[in-house]
Symmetry: C2
Subunit: 409 residues, 2 copies
């Protein structure tokens, strides 16, 4: 029987330790530098699949912060190791380099008092700067951990990036077999700990047919009817409320002229579930529906000019997973937040933590501190008021230290 750990006591041992207090003082004293780093990194555009410029800058920052084995991997992640005392394994602390904003988006930071406005500034650029602040604070206070900590700026967290950076880290990266726990610092809010990874399958279903003149060719198959039939059936699927499972017909397109039977129509579909088996079931049902809709259209209208065919292209495939409430990583994060006056809640979401969760590796998402809003919109903002910012950072640093094995000396 495993020893029951008293997580609150372990957290208290950290927060009361003089070296930890010294580290917090550094976070506080160093705050302007952290804000400057946030602005610097935010103003380096990092569109989906084009994170190179920001990755290069962050690589240099990691190197300047004295990490070891600083490198960029094949997929584009940049990382470096802060060595532990040698008797532990390796944990990952990551923030994502990419934003949702396309090339050409104005990423100039506009400051109003303690509010900073810019696309991507909270999600997740602030976290990149906060990881650097953590390294400086740990170094200045002389704090050691048992585990090595791999600090990572990863690519492809958003949208069609499909978690490709962290997926690579766990499937092909050189550390893939050594990672004992994974913490992603994503967006400012700290009191919501993400412990569930909502899985998703996204695909674009493209129906093709012969096309023809709307009047002269009337009676032949029309890919829009096949698609509509599939969408109607999709809308009728029954899904459980718990584990939460959803479907969505999201984007639809097709056709070129009002007087033509179109040659193509397509629908982008988003399927999600907190549970892997529910997601698999939903995915299978959706594919059945598409096949049946094509078959029906080819049966009820003429295929004399050719029938309807269909092609399903995967847009995204994020595995579902979760980290149990009674695991150390969740208990430490919860106790750390409570110790710093927060009232933590536990949620499921889709983050870089999905990948390790799906592999059974303890993983959570925590916050970068302070407040923010309007993520994924051009009006995105964060507040860098010092007290709130440092308080949130302190809670997150406490969690990281507990998971990495704080060495009290």
């Amino acid at each position: 029987m495993p020893v029951q750990r008293d997580h609150a006591s372990e957290i208290a041992a950290i927060t009361s330790h003089p070296t930890f207090k010294a580290a917090v003082e550094v976070l506080d004293a160093d705050h302007d530098r952290t804000v400057a780093d946030i602005i610097t990194l935010t103003e380096i555009p990092s569109p989906p699949f084009k994170e190179d410029r920001r990755a290069a800058a962050y690589l240099e920052m990691l190197r300047a912060h004295g990490l070891e084995d600083v490198e960029q991997d094949e997929i584009g992640n940049v990382m470096g190791v802060r060595r532990g005392t040698g008797n532990g394994g390796l944990i990952v602390v990551a923030a994502h380099l990419d934003t949702v904003f396309p090339e050409g988006t104005d990423v100039t930071v506009r400051r109003e008092g303690t509010r900073l406005h810019a696309p991507g500034i909270g999600d997740d650029t602030r976290s990149l700067a906060v990881l650097l602040a953590f390294i400086r604070a740990l170094d200045a206070a002389g704090i050691r951990t048992r585990n090595d900590i791999l600090f990572v700026g990863d690519v492809g967290e958003e949208g069609l990036g499909d978690l490709r950076g962290v997926r690579h880290l766990f499937s092909k990266g050189r550390y893939r077999d050594q990672i004992e726990a994974f913490i992603t610092v994503d967006s400012p809010q700290v009191d919501k700990i993400v412990v569930g990874g909502v899985g998703s399958k996204r695909y674009s279903v493209r129906f093709k047919g012969p096309g023809g003149h709307s009047f002269k060719a009337f009676g032949i198959v029309n890919p829009i009817y096949a698609m509509a039939q599939a969408i109607v059936e999709l809308g009728r699927i029954e899904v459980p409320e718990t584990p939460r499972t959803t479907f969505c017909a999201s984007i639809v397109g097709g056709g070129t002229s009002v007087n033509a039977i179109p040659e193509e129509a397509w629908i982008d579909i988003d399927l999600r579930s907190e549970a892997a088996e529910q997601l698999a079931r939903l995915d299978a049902r959706c594919r059945e529906i598409v096949a049946a809709a094509v078959e029906q259209e080819n049966a009820i209208r003429s295929t004399s000019e050719g029938g309807i065919t269909v092609d399903i292209r995967t847009l995204g495939d994020r595995p579902a997973g979760n980290t149990a409430m009674d695991t150390d990583i969740v208990q430490f994060a919860t106790a750390a937040l409570q110790a710093h006056g927060f009232a933590p809640t536990h949620e499921a979401s889709s983050t870089d933590a999905n990948i390790p969760m799906s592999l059974g590796i303890p993983a959570i998402k925590i916050g970068s501190g302070g407040t923010g809003g309007r993520a994924h919109s051009l009006a995105e903002w964060i507040d860098v008021e010092k007290a709130a910012s440092v308080s949130g950072m302190t809670a997150s640093l406490t969690t990281i230290l507990a998971v990495a094995g704080f060495v009290g000396e």
Copy 2:
């Protein structure tokens, strides 16, 4: 009981008359000039709703050809009168100024032997030049008609132009109460006489809803489901084969992000029939279907954030109509083609003639002569080989003279 006219004999009386033969010789001798006019007019772009430049040029050409009362009306049509002998009414001979090609399309004519390639060259620019050739031939041969002939270059025949030029001519134009017959010369082919006007109703049906996050807001109404339900029901409508009646879901769109329930989805629908009452029935059924689909979506999913609303915007409304086979205009055209060695067939289509047909005014579409193909594509071409061109032009001129009342001296 009306006197039964012998149309073939009347046609023979025209084609055997010395002045008619003289006119045909002019068509032949003048062919290079006609080809030059085709090129000149084709190279003046005339996109939908932007026929002004070509209209201005054609107005000057009509004036230079000695017509009376040359003018441009409020909607953009240009026209002029060739006076009859005064004991007849007025007939219209029209060709359309507009093409389907957008602004910026390269309309340079490329010549390969007797083939001319350019967007819009056959549909319907060639006909504009042919009307001028007819005027020159009639004048050179000294041919008179009983009726006044109003030569018209009209706007808005294609697509969303929705026949607005000819619609204006018959609803608000100064000649609206005097027109006894209408002949549109549209595209090269002469052996298919259009005697039926396929009516159409086209609309864009736009479904709107509150939109939301695909996972977090799951369960709320989605405009794509309402639209799909309407499309499926549209596809189930039963329509008669005769009079030919058709429907088409043509263009579909909506949504912006794969992880969002969209705020909008729309479908462009094309409804057609050779019979006005069938078209009206189809239109009514389609509107019922849309309303029911919206109602269903609002009933089966949550409207807590707002319900689905729908807006139907008319894209086109072309009245159905036809000119009976036993009318003089159809009989003259048929006999004229036969007299020149063609084997005419009779068809229904959607042309400028729909408007007078729907008003009970005798109307047909005839051809400009020669051959052509790939209309409405960038690869559009015509062949201006002289013998075939003049033969087709001669048949069409014969029809016009018979309808206008050829005066044999």
